[in-house]
């Protein structure tokens, strides 16, 4: 099977090449994309297989906030993802979403995920959900999160999220956990955050400006 026919050295190496290409097609037709070649390593092999694994459950995979200029303002990942992949995905998604026109629909298929996005002023809120997930309710998850930010910061703007990024994360954490909604009540979420703030204020003791700037 391996080398049929030709006895010349050349035709033998030819068929080896083919036999590798064939293997490639065999494997890729199983749905598992594997690169086979002299350079491929075990690492790549495993990594590629991991990509094609499917989780059966439905949940949010990640949420991104980015500006019209393509600056990432907030990112939250609900499944373990390698840093390199994250950067690649963010770049790719920003490009796709920013290129879309205003009247287009808020959903799109991307890789094996569904993307739900909405623009609020200069910020895009973008969620990746799974196949069976409910797109419309995800759109309202985004809206509720915006409402929470709005209520907390008092008509929120991009700058609030830049300067108080840690607060934005805390609010998101109170609202969503592990990709699932924790509490849909605006009151409960804000109560939790305000309680935390109260604790924080008690903690703080006044400091000199110099000390604040790390100059003392």
């Amino acid at each position: 099977m391996l080398t049929r026919g030709g006895t010349a050295q050349c035709s033998r190496s030819c068929s080896v090449v083919r036999y590798l290409t064939q293997t490639w097609s065999v494997i890729s037709s199983c749905g598992v994309y594997v690169y086979i070649g002299p350079g491929s390593t075990q690492g790549e092999f495993l990594c590629n297989i991991a990509v094609s694994q499917k989780e059966s459950s439905e949940m949010m995979r990640f949420m991104l906030l980015f500006s019209r200029q393509g600056k990432l303002r907030l990112q939250k990942w609900y499944t373990a993802t390698a840093e390199r992949d994250k950067k690649k995905m963010v770049r790719e998604l920003m490009q796709i979403v920013l290129a879309r026109k205003p009247k287009m629909c808020s959903f799109l298929e991307w890789r094996d995920l569904k993307i739900v996005y909405k623009r609020y002023a200069s910020l895009y809120f973008c969620c990746a959900i799974e196949e069976q997930d409910n797109e419309l309710i995800t759109l309202e998850v985004i809206h509720r999160f915006v409402e929470l930010l709005d209520k907390y910061f008092g008509s929120v703007c991009e700058l609030d999220i830049i300067f108080n990024f840690e607060k934005a994360y805390f609010i998101l954490d109170e609202f969503l956990m592990g990709g699932e909604i924790q509490d849909t009540s605006k009151k409960s979420v804000l109560k939790a955050i305000e309680q935390a703030d109260l604790l924080q204020e008690e903690d703080e003791s006044p400091r000199s400006v110099l000390e604040e700037m790390g100059l003392a």
């Binding site: 026919g5 037709s29 199983c30 094996d112 069976q132 309710i137 300067f163 935390a196």
Partner: protein, 928 residues
């Protein structure tokens, strides 16, 4: 800098952020960051112990830098220290840093776990929540090991605060997803179900998510949740008076909870209890009714929330697929949405209708919307909506509307976005085949496809049209006529030349009676395209020419002339040259009889799954593609999925050459045929033509997790009882139990090997989630066998009784080795997971190439190998009397050449061989 709102104390951080924002260039930003990093590093390393506040501030700055996209390689320790602070904000920043930046540094994880443990035990709800969030955010295995048994206790304890319960439920959900084996089921599960009755709607929401996930894994344990979920849903949906306060969202009562409850119910079939069932039906009807009511608010949030519940209800109706009235109502509702002014709703309606189309109750109802959908295809401005319209047309297609739909898709294809063209081509090809009443229409459609979008017509599509034409003699004449006409076009796509070449080569005689398509005209037409084509197409055309010589003796001289020309006989491409030489010779020396036998018409192809369908499935992934193959609409018997694996097995060996029907048994001595077999073997386009030797056409769901659970495999005992038998032979049964038989057939050539593994199902039922993989021990991986070349085409299939499935492994020997790889097989049989591990007989001696040498050479070399480490001698007692023939066979099977009359002692056996590995070749001599 904006006015900082409440509770902010970290002015240094704000100053830093402003600085960064004021940077005019990327370089300036990097410079500022590096300065800050150096500052923080010196603070952390400094002699002066930092107070909690400074630590918090610096950790926060590091976090900010990280989120800007820069790498952070220190500060983890300081963040972990913050966990043990008793100040809330410090703790909070510490946890935030960890959840954003955690790496699997095991020392750190232990310390983090310690911090979490303390906070969980603190009984301070805010601290407990922080700890639970951290576990959920990180979700690592180490954390699951440490806390998986603790969290259920917190969740069901009577005195746990509501907010902590919510966090605990979702935290447990996350752990269950990442490490399900570590979350113990127990008496807490029953109590979790009762959280559906909780007073606090936030708790119910979180608990519903958890229960849904658990119920997907073990539905029986959570059956009691059905009635509770229906009751809860009914209270939310049907009682208008109920005040849900803050859980009412833009006049919609608890939309999130409703969606989650409806999703939970989708884990189960319709309730058996009649009362419960009617209560659920009532809920679903109410939801459908509400869609008709005038909106209570003009805000989009109101309609979104309302419709989110509606779409989820429709999903449940489709899932149950048992209430025709509900299905038809759902379809009508979606029909209204198809013309809604909101793009989002049109998109979702098209998407949902796709699934409705597969229900026998609503298929007809969906079909009534065909005009609207076609219109959407033409007018929608958003490509993702148009894509949905294509999907829906594909799903609603049946015999009655196939011609219309295929025509619409073809006309859309002319202007379609490049990103979706290939998929449309595949869909058109499938529909045309599936619903073809007369095959002339099918042939026309495919040729149109090639004309309109030739570049997007993949091999599978044109292979398939050839398969079908060959298998159906009623269409052969028409096909020949049509391709002949299509080839008249001044510019035609190369794919058309391929199809044309093949079909005219086989059936050109059927139209040769007409003087306008006489043999010579046909040949000239084909040959006029020859020079514009790529090498594989030219190779195919050459084969068509030799077939012409058989079909039409009158053009023999012309064709021989063409073959004889320098551009063929001395072509730079070895393949073309070889074909030209061999075909020319064949046409000169073979008698008409031999020619007629050798160049006979191709035999029909074995029926099996359309390779196009397999391709589309691969493209879309399982479950994504509405299954149009249910029995109800399976009209054309010969195109259905008869997934006969035996035929696949056979074909992978027999279809060496496709145009020359040499796969039938014939004497090996007929030299011209052997010659062409040789040619074919090295021709990529030809052995692959019609894709017959691609093994895994099997299985509908090819994408499901193939390599999961690999951790559990380690515990399985490796079977190697049959292993020794394979030392001297390459084929046989390596494993057999009551369920499964695994056979092997292997071939080795130099340092490469290929092993065919055959799985036979001995039972009368299906194996589910069948998967197999090959693992090598570490030493084998690193030093001996190149794992990159030990390839596992991981097939995953549900294969049925009596069936046999084949898998191919490719092996390359890189350097010498002693261990053997292990084949792991996994499948479900009767609900239990079966794990089998078999040691594969891949041994060093398999890579022997026998070498012949004379007595003199042998002993000269033998003596050169005098060093002690170069010789191994073993004396063993024969268990059986030595039989010369058996021993000879064994030595040959071992892989070396048997050298006769070499040793002075005639009783001695002598062998010689070379072990080929990628790196070296090692000569081996043997005396027995």
């Amino acid at each position: 800098m904006p006015a900082v709102s409440k509770g902010d104390g970290m002015r240094g951080l704000a100053v830093f952020i402003s600085d960064i924002r004021n940077c005019k260039s990327k370089e300036a930003e990097v410079k500022r960051i590096n300065k800050e990093l150096a500052n923080i590093r010196s603070k952390f390393k400094g002699d002066k112990a930092l107070d909690g506040y400074s630590k918090k501030k610096y950790v926060c700055k590091l976090l900010f830098i990280f989120l800007l996209g820069h790498d952070i390689d220190f500060g983890h320790m300081e963040a972990v220290n913050l966990l043990s602070s008793n100040k809330y904000t410090e703790k909070q920043i510490g946890y935030l840093f960890i959840s954003v930046l955690v790496n699997s540094n095991s020392d750190l994880i232990r310390l983090i776990n310690n911090g979490i443990k303390n906070d969980l035990a603190s009984r301070n709800p805010t601290f407990m929540n922080l700890a639970l969030h951290c576990i959920a955010n990180v979700g690592s295995r180490e954390m699951a090991e440490a806390f998986a048994s603790e969290i259920p206790r917190i969740l069901v304890a009577g005195d746990t605060m509501d907010s902590v319960k919510q966090s605990a439920a979702l935290c447990l959900l996350r752990l269950n997803r990442t490490s399900p084996d570590l979350v113990p089921m127990g008496e807490w599960t029953a109590r979790v179900v009762h959280l559906l009755n909780d007073q606090h709607l936030g708790v119910v929401t979180a608990a519903t998510s958890l229960i849904t996930t658990l119920a997907q894994k073990s539905p029986d344990d959570f059956k009691t949740s059905i009635s509770l979920a229906v009751a809860r849903l009914s209270r939310i949906v049907t009682s208008a008076s109920i005040d849900l306060q803050d859980y009412t969202y833009y006049f919609v009562a608890a939309p999130w909870l409703s969606v989650k409850l409806l999703r939970l119910l989708q884990c189960y079939p319709p309730p058996e209890d009649a009362a419960l069932r009617s209560r659920l039906t009532e809920c679903l009807e109410t939801i459908l009714n509400k869609a008709q009511e005038p909106p209570k608010s003009k805000k989009v949030q109101h309609s979104n929330a309302k419709n989110a519940v509606l779409f989820e209800a429709i999903s449940l109706i489709i899932h149950h697929d048992s209430e025709p009235t509900l299905l038809v109502r759902a379809c009508n509702q979606l029909g209204q949405f198809l013309q809604h002014r909101e793009t989002n709703l049109r998109y979702l309606a098209l998407e949902s209708m796709c699934t409705l189309a597969s229900s026998e109750f609503s298929h007809e109802a969906v079909k009534t919307h065909i005009e609207t959908v076609i219109n959407a295809l033409k007018t929608e401005r958003d490509v993702s909506v148009r894509q949905r319209a294509v999907d829906l047309l594909y799903a609603m297609c049946d015999r009655s509307n196939a011609k219309q739909i295929v025509a619409e898709m073809l006309s859309y294809l002319e202007t379609a976005d490049y990103s979706i063209r290939e998929e449309i081509v595949l869909k058109v090809a499938i529909l045309a085949e599936k619903y073809a009443v007369d095959y002339t229409w099918y042939v026309d459609t495919i040729l149109n496809l090639i004309r309109i979008a030739g570049d997007y017509v993949s091999e599978e599509v044109w292979y398939r049209v050839i398969q079908i034409v060959i298998n159906r003699d009623d269409v052969q004449g028409y096909a020949a006529k049509t391709v002949f006409e299509a080839l008249q076009a001044p510019a035609c796509h190369e794919n058309l030349v391929k199809v044309g070449g093949y079909i005219l080569g086989e059936f050109g005689n059927l139209i040769a009676g007409d003087s306008r398509s006489s043999p010579l005209v046909q040949f000239n037409l084909l040959h006029s395209k020859f020079h514009l084509c790529s090498v594989p197409t030219r190779a195919l055309l050459l084969s068509a020419y030799i077939k012409f010589i058989n079909l039409f003796p009158e053009v023999k001289a012309t064709i021989q002339e063409v073959l004889r020309s320098d551009s063929q006989l001395r072509n730079a491409d070895v393949e073309l040259q070889q074909r030209a030489v061999e075909y020319l010779r064949l046409s000169c020396i073979a008698s008409t009889d031999i020619l007629a036998t050798v160049l006979e018409e191709m035999p029909p192809f074995p029926e099996r799954e359309s390779s196009i369908l397999a391709k589309l499935k691969r493209k879309k992934g399982p479950g994504n593609l509405p299954d149009i193959d249910d029995a109800r609409r399976n009209v054309n018997g010969n195109t259905e999925h008869t997934e006969k694996t035996e035929t696949t097995n056979k074909s992978s060996f027999s279809l060496v050459a496709d145009l020359l029907p040499i796969n039938r048994p014939r004497p090996a001595s007929s030299s011209p045929i052997m010659l062409s077999a040789g040619t074919m073997g090295s021709t990529p386009s030809f052995t692959d033509l019609l894709n017959l030797n691609s093994t895994p056409t099997a299985g509908a769901s090819l994408l499901v997790d193939v390599f999961s659970d690999s951790s559990t495999l380690a515990s399985v005992e490796v079977s190697d009882e049959n292993f020794p038998r394979f030392v001297c032979k390459n084929n046989g049964v390596i494993f057999e139990n009551q369920l499964l038989q695994i056979g092997l057939k292997s071939e080795y050539r130099q340092n490469l090997g290929r092993m065919y593994v055959f799985y036979g199902n001995k039972t009368s039922t299906q194996f589910l989630s069948f998967s197999s993989s090959v693992t090598c021990s570490d030493t084998l991986k690193n030093h001996i066998l190149s794992t990159s070349h030990l390839i596992v085409p991981s097939q995953l299939l549900h294969f049925s009784c009596g069936a046999q499935v084949q898998q191919i492994l490719n092996i390359e020997c890189v350097s010498d080795f002693t261990d053997a790889p292990v084949l792991n097989v996994q499948f479900r049989y009767g609900g239990t997971l079966q794990n089998i591990a078999v040691k594969l007989p891949v041994m060093l001696n398999k890579f022997f190439q026998p070498t012949e040498m004379t007595s003199q050479d042998f002993f000269q070399r033998w003596k050169q190998l005098g060093a002690p480490q170069q010789e191994v001698q073993k004396i063993f007692k024969a268990k059986h009397p030595m039989d010369t023939d058996v021993t000879k066979a064994k030595i040959l099977g071992f892989g070396v050449a048997l050298l006769d009359r070499v040793d002075p002692n005639a009783e001695n056996f002598v062998g010689a061989g070379v072990i080929h590995s990628k790196n070296t070749q090692v000569g081996c001599l043997l005396r027995l």
